[in-house]
Amino acid sequence: MTGGHEIGDLRARLAAGDGPAFWRSLDAVADSPAFRAFLEAEYPAAARLAAAPDRRGFLRAMAASLAMSGLAACGQPDGRTEEVPYVRQPERIVPGTALSYASAALVDGFANGVLVTTRNGRPLKIEGNPAHPWSRGGTDVFAQASVLGLYDPFRLQAPHYLGRPSAWQAFRAAMTGRFAALRATDGGRGLHLVTGPVTSPSLAAQIAAMRRDFPAMRWHVAAPAGREALYEGAREAYGRPLETRWRLGEARTIVSLDGDLLDAGPGQVGQSRDWIEARRAAAAAGRLLSLHHAGPTPSLTGAKADAPLAVGSDALAQIARDLLAEAGGGTAEVRDGPVAAWRRRAFAALNGARGAGVVLAGAHAAPALLAQVHRLNAALGNTGRCVFHTAPVPAQEAEPLAALVEAMARGAARAVVMLDVNPVYDAPGDLGFTEALARVPLKIHAGLYRDETAAHCDWTLPLAHPLESWGDARALDGTVTLIQPTVAPLYDGRTVPEILSILTDAEARDGRGLLDAHWRRPGEDEAAARARLEEALRAGFLPGTALPEESVAAPAPAAARPAAGAPAPSSGPARRVEVLFRPDPTIWDGSLSDLAWLQELPKPLTKVVWGNVVAVSPRLAEREELEQGDVVTLEAGGRRLEGPVWILPGQADDAVTVTLGYGRRAPGLLADGLGYDAYGLRAAASPWRLADATLARTGRRQPPVTTQDHGTMEGHDLVRVRALGAPAAPSAPLPSLYPPAPASAEGRHGGERAWGMVIDLDACIGCNACVTACQSENNIPVVGREEVARGRWLHWLRIDRYYEGGLDQPATHFMPVPCMHCEQAPCEVGCPVEATLHDREGLNLMVYNRCVGTRACSSYCPYKVRRFNYLDYAGDMAPVQQQQRNPEVTVRARGVMEKCTYCVQRIAAARIDATKADHAPIPDGAVETACQGACPTRAITFGDLRDPASQVAAAAADPRNYALLGALNTRPRTTYLARLAAGGTGAGPEGEP
C-alpha cells in the first residue's frame, strides 16, 4: 500500500499531468505492479484458490463437493407447508399485497417523513413520503436501514433488574413508592432525567408536566452528535438560540465555511433537495448556482463544491474575518496565497449578489465561526431574504450533560432516568461520566440494546422501535411528523412517553392515548379530535406546523480578537495536530452501529467498511512517513486513542479527523470490537475540535478494509464534467470492426417498452441512500469485513468516488454504478448456460436457477457490476431477520451470480397492474426503482426510453448525457448526465465565473 515515502512522487506525477485525470486511490495513481496484479485478479480469493492445488488437494475438494451436492439435493422443508389464514380478516389487509403507512424516520430526534411498505403485516421497506413538506419523497441511509433495526435479534427484549429478566409490572411496582418518596421530598430534588434531543411536541409537553410535578427535577439532553454549536453560535450573534435556514431557490451563490449543507444529519434530505432544485432551476436559466466550500476535512458539501478549499480551522476563522471586513468595505488581512485567491472569488460572488447570497456554516463548526457567518450574512444583506431564522426545533430547556456529572459526582443525584441515550459510551471522555454514575443509588436506563449504559444501571428497560411506536417528532423545518406503528411490537418494548407515563401517571397510558390527549384541541370533541388525527396519520404529518420565520435584530459585533498564542512547538517524536471529531457518515453517533447494512456501507469519502479511520492529510503523512493503515496514537489532556491512518486527499494539512460511533464496549453487540472509540478523547467544552493534540506512531499496522479499488474499470472518460451551456459534442460513430448494430434503442430488443435509467452526476451527493435502499429492496445479504476485503461484497449498486486534480486540493466526484443493462451485453456472451439473457423490454436478466457459477459473465463485464455468492450468506440469518426479506425477490443461494435487475419485481407489478386495468399503458413514473425512490436529490430517472414524453427519454436527450465506456459499443441502457461546471470542461476551482 502507498505510504508517506511515495507521496512526494505521486504529487509530482499529478502536478506534471503524468497521472490519471480522475483517480480513485493513491494506489491507483502509483499504479504499482502489485496494484496491477490486484486488479487483474478481480476476485482475489478466487485467484488464490485457483493457484495450482496439488493432486490430493484437488481430489479432496472434488470429494467434498460431491458429498455436498448430495446433501444439497435433499429437499429441505422451507417453512411453507401450511396455510394459516386469519380468524377475522382485518380490513384492507390482503395477504401478499403491499400496504403502506405514513410515518417518520428519526435522526437525532429530528423527523423525515417516510412511507413504510408492509406486506403480510411486516414492515419491509422505507420509501420517502412525497407529500411531506420537508423530505419531499427523499430518504437517507438512516431511514432506509431503520427497518433492519426492527428485526435485530440483538435487541433488548424484556425489562431487566440487576441483570436478571424482570417485568414491566415489577418495574412499576418498584417505582411507584420511590417516585412518591421523591416527589414528597423537595419536589423531586435529586431526580435527573436524561433524554436525547426532544423535538416531539407531545414529549416536550409531557416532560414540562413532569417538571411541574417534580419542580426540583433536572432535565439533561445528551446529544453526542447534536446541533448545540448552531444554537450557541446564534446565541453569540443574536442573544438567543435560533435555527438557520436558507431559501436556496432565490440564491445566486452559496459560500460554505465548514458547512454541512449536503452532509448526513437531520438536514440532509430537505437541504439537499432545496440545493438541487435551486441548482437545476439556475441551470435551466443559463447560470450556475455555484457552491464555494472551505473546510478542514472533506465532506459531501465539499465534494459537490464548484470551488473546494482545504484549510485548517484557524485559517477558516481568518477567512470569515476577512470576508466580514471586505463586506463592510474594509480590507482583508490575508492577501496572498491560494486561501486569499479562494476568498477573493467567494467574496466577488457574494458581493455581486448582495441579498441573494448565502453564507453558511455547519453543526460541527466553532460557535464563534457560526456567529461570524451570521454577521457576514447580515452585512451582505442576506439575512431575512435568502437566509432566515426560526425558533430552534428541539426543546431548549434542558441542561447539558456536564451539569449531571457534576451533580452525580457531588452525590446530589438520587435517581437518574436515562431514556434512549447511552452516555456511558458517548459522553465526552473528560467528564468522567461512568465513575460519577456509580455514586447514584437508583439508575434507570431504557434503550433498544443492552448497551454500555445498561451494564451500569439497576433497571434496564427495552424501548419499542419507532416502527412499533406511536409518537410525533418535528422535521428540521418544524413540520410535526407523526409516527405510527406498522407492526405489533416484536418484543416487550415501550416508548419513551410510555415509560415516563409509568413513572409519573397514576394510571399508565399507552402511546396512542398520550398522542390523542396531546393533539386534542381544548374543548374539541374527543371523536372529532381522533378523526382529525386519523386524517393526519394518513398524510403522515400535521399540515401547516412548520415553524414561522423569526425576525432578528442586527447581530452583536464580534468580541475583540484574543491575541494569537505562540505557535505550539513541534519538538520531540510526537507531532502537534488539530483533531476534528465528526459523526460517522453511516452509523452516525454509534446508536446505529448494530445495523449490519450500515456497517458494510462504504463511507462516502474513504469507502472504508466495518470500522473507522484516523484521516490525515497527504502532507502530514509525508512528513510523518505514515502509511495507510499505520496505527497512530492521538493524545490530548491525558486522554488518548489509537486508530489506523487513512491518507485522505483534500484534508487540511495539520488537521486529523476522527469519527464517532465505533469502539463499542458492549459485549454481544454486532459492533463490539470494531474500530476505535473517539468519545474518550473528546472534551465537553469543545466537542468538535481539539486544538492541540499530539500524534505519534505506534509501529503497529491495521489496514482498514476499503472498497475504493473494488470494481475498478479500465477505460477513460469515466466521469465527465461539462461546462454549462457548452455545445453538444458531435457524436461521430467510432470506427469498429463489427457490422453496424441497429441504431435505435428499440432496434435490438423490439419490445413494447425499452426500460432505461439516467443518473445525473451533478445531482449525486454520494449519500449512499440508494445503496441501502437497493439492499433493503433486493434482499442483499451482508458478507462481513473479511469477505469484503476479499472482494466478495454483494452490493448491486456501488458509488465510485473519483478525485480530480492534485493530492492536496482535489475535486471529488461521485458516480453510482448499477448494472448498465447493455443492449449488446458482453456478459451474455460469456455464460455457457444462458443464465443471463435479455428480455424484449431490454432488461439484462439473471436467472438464478440456471446459474452454475462459472463467473465468466463477471469477467466479461467491463463495468464490474456482477456479484457472486461465494458462501451461503443468506442462509444462516436468524429467523427474525428473515422476516425483513422482500417476498417479491428471490433469496439467492450459494454459487449464484447476481446483479442489479432494474427492480424487475416493480416492473412486473406495474405490468400486471396495467394488464388488470384493461391493458392500459404503464404511465411514466409508475415504475420507480428502489434507488430512484430513495434519492434525496432525484439524481436517478427511470422509465421507458421509447416513450418520447417520458422523463427518462428527456434526460437521455440532454446534451450532458453520455454512456459509461460507450466506446466499447455495449449500448448501455443506463447512461449518465455529466457534472456541471461553470466555464471550460475542467472541474474545480479554475471553473469559476
Partner: protein
C-alpha cells in the same frame, strides 16, 4: 491345497456383474418414475386437514361461488384462503353443533387460526399471480382440476416448469371466454383452434416468445 472357488463361482460372479449392470441401467428409469410419482409430486394425494373440508359438497353440490371464499383471486396475486370468519358466516347457523366443525368453532372462539396443510406450492423463485391469469382467460380448473369432484382436496397438477410452459408457449389452446373461467368442468371445445387465437387477441395476450421470457415468472 483345497480350491478356493467352487465350480459355480464363475457363473455366480457373472450373474452378479450382470445384475449390477442391470441395476445401473434401471436406476435412471426408476428414479425418473419415482420423481414423477405422486409420492414425490403429491398429485392426487389428499393430506389430512384440521377439518375434512369438501370442495365437492360446497362448490359442487351447493354451488357456492369460488370467490365467496377465495376473495382476492380476481384482483391480487394470491387467491386467498378464507378466514375462519367466512366459515362461521354459515356454520354459525347450520351444522353449528357438528363434531366435524369443532376445530372451526374453537378457532373462532379462541381467536387462533386454523392451520391447513398446504397443497399447491411453487418454488421460491417462481412468482405467480392469480389475478392476471383469471382476468386473461385462464380458468381455475386448468391448474386446480375439477375441485367439484374432490371429496377431500388434493393437488391436481405437479406444477413443474413444463406445466406452466405448455400454456405460456401456446396460450390459445387454454384460454376460455370470460364467463367460463369458474366452470370446473370446462374442456376445450371442438372449435378451440378457431376461438383460441381470437380470445388471445381479445385478451391482449402477448405471443409465446414474450410469455416464455424468464422474467415473466422469475425475479
Amino acid at each position: 491345497m483345497r480350491q478356493l472357488f467352487a465350480p459355480g463361482a464363475d457363473a455366480l460372479f457373472r450373474l452378479a456383474l450382470l445384475t449390477a449392470a442391470a441395476c445401473l441401467a434401471a436406476l435412471p428409469v426408476v428414479g425418473a418414475g419415482l420423481m414423477r410419482s405422486s409420492y414425490v409430486t403429491g398429485v392426487g394425494v389428499a393430506p389430512a386437514q384440521p377439518v375434512p373440508f369438501s370442495h365437492k359438497h360446497h362448490s359442487g353440490e351447493l354451488a357456492i361461488d369460488c370467490r365467496y371464499c377465495h376473495t382476492s383471486v380476481e384482483t391480487q396475486a394470491t387467491a386467498g384462503i378464507p378466514p375462519t370468519h367466512t366459515c362461521m358466516t354459515c356454520h354459525g347457523q347450520i351444522w353449528s353443533g357438528s363434531d366435524m366443525l369443532a376445530p372451526v368453532r374453537a378457532s373462532y372462539a379462541r381467536d387462533e387460526p386454523l392451520h391447513w396443510t398446504r397443497l399447491n406450492k411453487l418454488p421460491g423463485y417462481v412468482y405467480y399471480n392469480h389475478a392476471v391469469h383469471v382476468q386473461n382467460g385462464i380458468g381455475c380448473s386448468t391448474c386446480h382440476g375439477n375441485v367439484t369432484e374432490m371429496q377431500l382436496t388434493y393437488r391436481a397438477n405437479a406444477f413443474e416448469m413444463s406445466f406452466c410452459l405448455d400454456c405460456h408457449r401456446n396460450p390459445e389452446k387454454y384460454v376460455r371466454p370470460k364467463d367460463e373461467i369458474l366452470t370446473m368442468t370446462w374442456s376445450p371445445p371442438a372449435n378451440q383452434a378457431e376461438i383460441g387465437p381470437e380470445l388471445v387477441r381479445q385478451y391482449h395476450i402477448r405471443g409465446g416468445e414474450r410469455l416464455t421470457e424468464c422474467a415473466i415468472c422469475h425475479r
